[in-house]
């Protein structure tokens, strides 16, 4: 068996070059099956040589401290353990390229570490992008002009008086029977006082009253499967307090949300 010289056969350099071709930024080993096989061969020899040396001692072995361009001083016991040229090649590998205890020098270790890093970066990027998309949707989503909150149910005299007015108005609530005890005030918006109630079928109802005249503008009930919405338009001859500077054709929309009523202003373009 011929002994490879340090200059003619430098497994350390060859292994380093193959690792660079396999894991480096300009990886091109995929198209070279012979190089892949050679890299595997050198890695295996390296692994076996390390295993043959046993646990790492306090200092580097004589083989490990061989300088480049110089024949490595291989220990006879190591040569005996491996019994091949690969062992000599593996023994010549310096500590800089030696497989470390975390396995970062191994192909799978490197691949696994890179995979985890890419997965982490991908998830982080996905989360950031999702947050940005949510933020854009949130920023662009329309918002009500006001949110009216429910007051006490029929606790004051105003509600009692209002009920009397409602009861006297024929055809209110789309001919439904409304429970007086559920009458709830929500305050006013643009001159429109807002009340809610519940009918005998448990449908919520919305009642809109013109504050200036105490005239009922709308009284609608809708099954809970549909959104309960009542509109008040700004028309010629209407209450100027309701118009409040809005163009003719604009609409005040009130949407019942249970404990709150959202008030929306849908503005019409200025009439020509």
């Amino acid at each position: 068996m011929s002994e490879p010289s340090g200059e003619a056969f430098d497994p350390e350099r060859e292994l380093a070059e193959l690792r660079e071709r396999a894991y480096g930024p300009a990886s091109d080993i995929d198209s070279d099956p012979a190089a892949i096989a050679r890299l595997a061969e050198l890695e295996e020899a390296h692994r076996r040589a390390v295993a043959a040396r046993g646990p790492a001692g306090p200092g580097p072995s004589p083989a490990a401290i061989a300088t480049p361009g110089e024949a490595p001083p291989v220990a006879p016991a190591e040569v005996e353990a491996v019994g091949s040229a690969e062992a000599v090649a593996a023994a010549a590998i310096s500590p800089a390229t030696r497989l470390d205890r975390r396995g970062y020098g191994a192909p799978w270790g490197r691949t696994l570490r890179n995979s985890r890093r890419y997965v982490f970066l991908g998830l982080a990027a996905a989360l950031v992008c999702a947050a940005v998309v949510c933020g854009i949707y949130w920023a662009l989503a329309p918002r009500p002009a006001a949110i009216l909150r429910a007051g006490a149910q029929t606790a004051d005299a105003a509600a009692e008086a209002r009920w009397i007015v409602f009861s006297s108005e024929e055809g209110l609530f789309m001919d439904r029977t409304v429970d007086q005890q559920t009458l709830t005030p929500y305050g006013a918006f643009h001159g429109v006082a807002v009340w809610s109630a519940v009918d005998d079928l448990d449908n919520p109802c919305l009642i809109l009253v013109e504050e200036s005249s105490e005239r009922t503008l709308q009284a609608v009930c809708a099954p809970r499967s549909g959104q309960l919405i009542a509109d008040v338009g700004v028309w010629n001859g209407g209450d100027p307090e309701i118009a409040g500077g809005l163009a003719l054709g604009s609409v005040l929309r009130f949407q019942h949300r249970g404990a709150t009523v959202e008030a929306w202003v849908i503005e019409a373009p200025d009439a020509p």
């Binding site: 396999a22 595997a40 061969e41 799978w108 691949t111 079928l201 809708a222 003719l248 849908i266 503005e267």
Partner: protein, 169 residues
């Protein structure tokens, strides 16, 4: 010596699958990122579009011009304040005896009109500036007590939703 070659070859086959694996992981992560972004966008869009339930029916424009009855029931003083332009009436056909029409008004708003031809009643009218949902609710005419039809005007159709009370009416 002979034993190292099979071992090395075996390790090499791992390598062959391992090196592309690194790239396939990158592609998988990229696909995951794109998938999360698209999925998240769709989810957010679905949520922000609100609880638009699927309509029970959709009525398409028929091209039928308004006849004398329709023009008569919409003449002032009916819905006079809405200032509906009768020249812009478009028919969307009939649903359960209720005729649906759309129109524009003097303020450029979109209007939806529900007419019960048999009783010659205007069951509901609504005009809302373009861009907001325009709908009209109707009751009676064969519906269970407490139930209502909601007719929602879309760009070129009218969606019909039957709203039933929880109590079953």
């Amino acid at each position: 010596m002979g034993s190292s070659t099979p071992s090395g070859a075996e390790h090499g086959s791992d390598l062959r699958s391992g090196i592309p694996r690194s790239r396939s992981v990158r592609l998988a992560v990229l696909a995951l990122t794109v998938g999360v972004i698209i999925g998240g966008s769709v989810a957010v869009a679905a949520v922000t579009r609100g609880s638009d339930a699927r309509p029970d029916a959709t009525l398409q424009a028929t091209g039928t011009p308004p006849d004398e009855l329709v023009l008569r029931v919409l003449e002032p003083p009916e819905a006079e304040h809405l200032e509906i332009d009768l020249d812009t009436l478009r028919s969307f056909g009939t649903h359960e005896g209720i005729e649906l029409w759309s129109a524009s008004n003097a303020f450029g708003s979109s209007c939806v009109i529900a007419i019960h031809r048999r009783t010659q009643d205007v069951l509901g009218t609504s005009c809302v500036p373009v861009g907001a949902t325009t709908f009209v609710d109707t009751i009676a005419h064969g519906l269970p007590i407490g139930a209502a039809y909601r007719f929602t005007l879309r760009s070129d159709a009218v969606d019909v939703s039957l709203l039933l009370p929880d109590a079953g009416g």
